[in-house]
């Protein structure tokens, strides 16, 4: 059965399930629990839920203390605060000692479309990816979110998981297990390779459809483990392609695009274009679609980038 289509709701329900199977799972909030949906955990396990008030730095280092006595703490905030406001605490108290703290960066990317640049995260992946020992995950839909969460009981060390605010189309194969590092092929093709994470995966699939109309065959991969990046998997994914487009709802500096290029650096590969937020902050918009279009994060943008690369190749 499909989980709830809203990624935040699916996340909250998955957290609740983890709480049922492992009593060491605890959750911390900074007054956004109704939005991040960690409130679902609170209702079931009030003793294991810690409302920390609007004090994200204290929340992050408190989570370190909980992990040091054997708990598996999940901390929650909007991605922009979960990665930004807590950076030094996550760096020192969590990442250096490789503690099992899970950081939920909710309303990631531009998905909090109304709240504008202070609340939209264009740099969270770059920040978290630069931290040694940190794992960075970006699921593409609710199914993948639930499967990823199941990996977070046993996976050693800290994990940052990027959660979209919206309902996203179901793409992850229901019966297929997930493991951290997995690259999922969603469409086969021969001319171009489209790599993506999060909301940009469905858009890359749409782009493959647009390319097919022009007689261009594209294969599409979901690269949801941004760190540790599956280098061998990526090399295999791009082999034989004449163009590569990496798409993400994040700054083109330091995100999935950077991770892919770092991974491919010692092998010959086709030219790469990066679709993402071009080193700028967000802005308020009336709806999600409108802001994604403004920042060039649409299927036609991806297809256009692929065709440009093919013309030059």
């Amino acid at each position: 059965m499909n989980p709830h289509p809203n990624m935040r709701e699916a996340y909250g329900l998955a957290l609740l399930e983890l709480g049922k199977v492992n009593r060491n799972v605890v959750a911390l909030e900074a007054d956004l629990g109704k939005s991040t949906r960690s409130v679902l955990f609170q209702e079931a396990f009030p003793d294991r839920y810690f409302q920390m008030g609007i004090a994200e730095q204290n929340m992050a280092a408190t989570a370190a203390g909980l992990a040091l006595v054997g708990k598996i703490p999940f901390i929650h905030s909007f991605a922009v605060f979960a990665a930004g406001r807590t950076f030094d605490q996550l760096r020192n108290t969590v990442s250096i000692p490789r503690l099992n703290v899970r950081i939920c960066g909710s309303s990631c990317g531009l998905s909090d479309f109304g709240d504008g640049k202070t609340h939209q995260s264009v740099e969270d992946v770059a920040i978290m990816r630069a931290l040694p020992n940190m794992t960075v995950l970006s699921p593409m839909d609710s199914i993948e979110t639930v499967k990823m969460m199941e990996c977070l009981i046993d996976w050693p060390g800290p994990v940052y998981i990027r959660i979209n605010r919206s309902d996203l189309p179901f793409l992850y194969p229901l019966s297929e297990p997930y493991h951290i590092g997995k690259i999922t092929k969603l469409r086969d093709g021969s001319d171009v390779v489209l790599l993506a994470a999060g909301v940009m995966v469905s858009r890359s699939l749409e782009a493959a459809g647009l390319l097919a109309e022009k007689g261009i065959s594209a294969r599409v991969f979901n690269v949801s483990t941004i760190k540790p990046i599956n280098r061998q998997g990526l090399i295999e994914a791009v082999t034989g392609a004449r163009a590569i487009v990496v798409s993400e709802e994040h700054n083109t500096v330091g995100g999935l695009g950077g991770a892919v290029l770092e991974a491919l650096r010692t092998v010959s590969h086709a030219s790469v274009e990066l679709i993402g937020i071009k080193d700028s902050f967000g802005m308020s918009a009336a709806n999600y679609e409108e802001i994604l279009a403004r920042f060039g994060l649409t299927a036609p943008d991806i297809a256009g980038a692929a065709m440009d690369l093919l013309r030059k190749s």
């Binding site: 008030g53 004090a55 204290n58 280092a61 408190t62 605490q89 020192n92 000692p97």
Partner: protein
């Protein structure tokens, strides 16, 4: 009441910790001498008296936790862990050398007995709170001791944690402020004065105990009293002297993180020897009287 033998033992241990501190510093190596020596009595009282701690098993789940929020002063904690046999004595001289066990700031991966990573200031109390909440969930009553610097109280996160610890009635936490009045670049009063420290903690919902942080009897009494306070955390404001015991370093910001020349090393050794002689003579008199 604490007996004279216990007080004498702890006074001698505090002095030994200062000798160990001097051995770690050596000649020509930068080290946080001032803020380490201001805590010598506090650390001696915790590790050798107040804390539930089995040096044969530093990972014992029953142990009390010592967290050094002012992580740069970890030298004095190393000294205690050496005296307990948790860290081999030969490590003292290798302090802050490549691949060594005794890093410049607390590193739980490299050093036995270190409970967390601290050093970026202001974070220890939050870690203590997490430990307290987690241990409470497991039905454990281990105490968590966290030492903060007075300069460190400028960090906003301390007050976030203070509010949260009071809200969660984290009465297994004993905070200790090493009120030595001097920080890296000068007297705390001149850098950014933090008036009414005790009133601030009270306003944040903490029980406050004020003591002389070099008086073993007062430290033990305050630690004992803090253990008995329920329903809220307690903080001990310990009035101390930065660089205590080293004549040239007392109240001197230059030895917040200073280097000893050969002359200063000899002076430091002579200062500690004089303290030992004074201790010997005081206790000899007490035995006679």
């Amino acid at each position: 009441m604490t007996d004279t033998a216990t007080i004498q033992k702890l006074e001698r241990l505090a002095l030994q910790l200062r000798f160990d501190l001097l051995e770690m510093m050596g000649v020509g190596k930068a080290g946080h001498l001032g803020g380490s020596s201001s805590m010598a009595e506090i650390v001696a009282c915790l590790y050798f008296h107040a804390m539930r701690y089995n040096p044969a098993n530093p990972k014992d789940p029953e142990r009390d936790r010592f967290l050094l929020s002012k992580g740069h002063c970890v030298l004095i904690q190393y000294a205690a862990l050496v005296e307990l046999g948790v860290i081999p004595r030969e490590e003292l001289k290798k302090l802050k050398t490549l691949d060594c066990c005794l890093q410049g700031h607390p590193d739980m991966d490299r050093t036995p007995g270190i409970e967390a990573v601290t050093g970026s200031l202001g974070m220890g109390l939050s870690i203590a709170l997490g430990m307290a909440l987690g241990l409470r969930l497991d039905g454990r009553s281990n105490r968590i001791y966290v030492v903060m610097g007075d300069g460190e109280l400028s960090e906003g996160q301390i007050w976030e944690a203070a509010m949260a610890a009071a809200a969660y009635k984290a009465d297994t936490i004993t905070g200790i402020v090493d009120l030595n009045h001097v920080q890296a670049t000068g007297p705390t009063k001149e850098i950014l004065d933090i008036p009414d420290i005790a009133k601030k903690w009270e306003a944040f919902g903490w029980e406050v105990l004020k003591i002389d942080g070099h008086d073993i009897g007062q430290i033990l009494k305050a630690l004992e009293k803090a253990k008995r306070i329920t329903g809220r955390p307690a903080v001990i404001i310990a009035e101390t002297v930065k660089g205590k015991g080293f004549s040239f370093a007392e109240n001197n910001a230059a030895f917040h993180n200073g280097i000893l020349t050969e002359d200063l090393y000899r002076q430091a050794f002579a200062d500690l020897q004089a303290l030992r002689t004074a201790l010997d003579s005081r206790y000899a008199k007490e035995v006679r009287s």
